[in-house]
């Protein structure tokens, strides 16, 4: 077997361990995957010692993240894939759970995403509540059924600023990485 590949697998394993990653997924995020994930994560979380509200927040934000990818991730190839593809990681340190997603986005979408997250990060709890209500009561669901509420909800539930990064893939596409932190 190719030794470089074996090294890759072993490094992958050691990296996952050193970053305390509990859940990792890469691939298409379909309705079935979300369903499977939610029941898996729920069982997983139930067994943990953290307080119920914390576990609920982790679960909620995880679902929201998966659905974000499923609806909004762009595709590098021209295949007619129905669902978005991406990475989801749930890791932890002594103080926090960290939910990380990564997916491909078009370079031209970056500005909009940045603005939306920066805005959500700059708002107080009360301002977020007002914005949530406003979005809730205006208009029907968009074509992609994104309610425009995802980032607001993640920020509110996590109570911490959302972190993001864009890594350039080529002139048309970037890799969008989003971190949500939930205090234990």
């Amino acid at each position: 077997m190719n030794l470089t590949f074996i090294d890759f697998v072993f490094n992958f394993f050691t990296n996952i361990r050193s970053h305390n990653v509990n859940i990792i997924y890469e691939g298409e995020i379909s309705h079935e995957i979300i369903k499977a994930f939610t029941s898996l994560a729920e069982k997983d979380l139930k067994a943990r010692k953290e307080a119920n509200p914390t576990k609920k927040k982790v679960f909620n934000i995880m679902v929201e993240c998966l659905q974000n990818i499923s609806k909004h991730a762009d595709c590098l190839t021209q295949t007619q894939q129905k669902n978005g593809r991406g990475i989801l990681l749930v890791s932890e340190n002594d103080k926090q759970f960290i939910i990380t997603t990564g997916n491909v986005v078009k370079v031209k979408s970056i500005n909009k995403i940045e603005q939306e997250i920066d805005n959500v990060n700059s708002l107080t709890k009360e301002q977020l509540r007002v914005l949530f209500k406003q979005k809730l009561s205006t208009g029907r669901l968009s074509k992609k059924e994104g309610a425009g509420l995802g980032f607001i909800d993640m920020k509110r539930k996590s109570n911490n600023k959302l972190e993001y990064n864009f890594k350039s893939i080529d002139s048309n596409y970037s890799f969008f990485i989003l971190n949500a932190f939930i205090d234990k």
Partner: protein
């Protein structure tokens, strides 16, 4: 009018809409991705109910999890009850939340602020 009963799944709630009693129940988890697919039949049923409603309608909502897409769909359900109120009927929404679930309590408060239907928040003891 035939009652609408939907069995719960891992990601969708139990729904019981009874036109004879005017008692509606939505209970469980509402996390579907394709939210329109799940809520459309409910909204259609409610549209028909509104044409010949009971004097009193009560909607009990007891959710464990709600995703943001569903929060908009639930809003649409509440708007149907608002229509009843506008028609001079009595309607009420009972929003149940576990005593350790601040987030669910908050969502209830936000609905109460934007929906013109009497809204009662009811706390219950969380299961361990």
């Amino acid at each position: 009018m035939v009652a609408l009963n939907i069995e719960p799944t891992e990601i969708t709630p139990c729904v019981k809409l009874n036109a004879e009693t005017g008692l509606f129940i939505i209970e469980g988890k509402t996390l579907p991705e394709n939210v329109n697919f799940f809520y459309e039949p409910i909204l259609i049923w409610l549209n028909e109910y509104i044409t010949n409603p009971k004097e009193n309608t009560i909607l009990e909502v007891k959710l464990e999890y709600i995703n943001t897409a569903s929060s908009k769909a639930i809003f649409s359900v509440f708007l149907k009850l608002e229509k009843l109120v506008n028609k001079g009927k009595t309607a009420k929404i009972k929003w149940f939340y576990a005593d350790d679930d601040e987030d669910m309590k908050d969502v209830g408060e936000e609905y109460a602020d934007v929906i013109k239907v009497p809204f009662e928040q009811i706390e219950f003891k969380a299961e361990d």
